[in-house]
């Protein structure tokens, strides 16, 4: 059963890595600034999911806190960048 778990976790990490590559390509190609912000938000969330799978792989619960902080920071970053696109400055 251990081999199934090992290969399943590795497969999930490969799929999430491909998702990270897709988001990175959208950031690089994005025709306008809002496309890049959307790709950045998606990149943050995919990396958060990848950290969760690292936590399952290593069996330590420390990764959970890193993933929670990444979820928080991703939300704050996206809202701040969208506010910047909307108004030209973040804190008025």
């Amino acid at each position: 059963m251990s081999t199934v778990l090992t290969w399943g976790i590795t497969g999930a990490q490969v799929l999430l890595g491909l998702a990270l590559a897709c988001s990175t390509l959208r950031i690089l190609w994005g025709p306008r600034a809002q496309d890049r912000v959307l790709g950045f938000d998606s990149l943050y969330l995919n990396a958060m999911l990848l950290v969760l799978t690292f936590g399952i792989q290593s069996g330590s619960t420390l990764y959970f806190e890193a993933a929670l902080m990444m979820a928080l920071l991703g939300f704050v970053t996206t809202v701040a960048l969208a506010k910047f696109l909307l108004r030209g400055e973040v804190i008025e």
Binding site: G11, R26, G55, F64
Partner: protein, 119 residues
């Protein structure tokens, strides 16, 4: 992977199934982000990963650590609730910014046909 042999077959199967499902759904969402044509179509695609993908992978983590520690572990509910609540907020703010930018440049590209007129 030192402790993986200790958990039962049912927990391992559930964990692997949920992990693969969540990762595949997230990959589909990111492919949609890469492949769809206009911004207003693209903004829908990553929500697959943020809702279903996050729920599946966090559930897999909950099941794995509950089976490993022989006690219920509920930490990951925090991630599920937080991501599910904040994604619509951030995407609505982002779409409002995009609408404002398009309208201030007199493009008004809400519909795809209108965008094709402008080339």
């Amino acid at each position: 992977m030192n402790a993986a042999a200790e958990i039962s077959v049912l927990s391992a199967t559930l964990t692997v199934t949920l992990l693969i499902c969540g990762a595949a759904i997230t990959l589909i969402g990111s492919l949609g982000l890469l492949r769809l044509r206009s911004f207003y179509e693209r903004v829908h695609a990553p929500t697959l990963g943020t809702t279903l993908g996050t729920t599946c992978i966090a559930l897999a983590s909950m099941i794995y650590f509950s089976a490993l520690g022989a006690r219920p572990v509920m930490h990951e509910l925090l991630i599920i609730v937080f991501v599910t609540v904040t994604t619509p907020i951030s995407l609505m703010v982002l779409v409002r910014a995009a609408v404002f930018r398009n309208e201030s440049e007199n493009q008004g590209t809400i519909r795809r046909g209108e965008k094709n007129e402008h080339g």
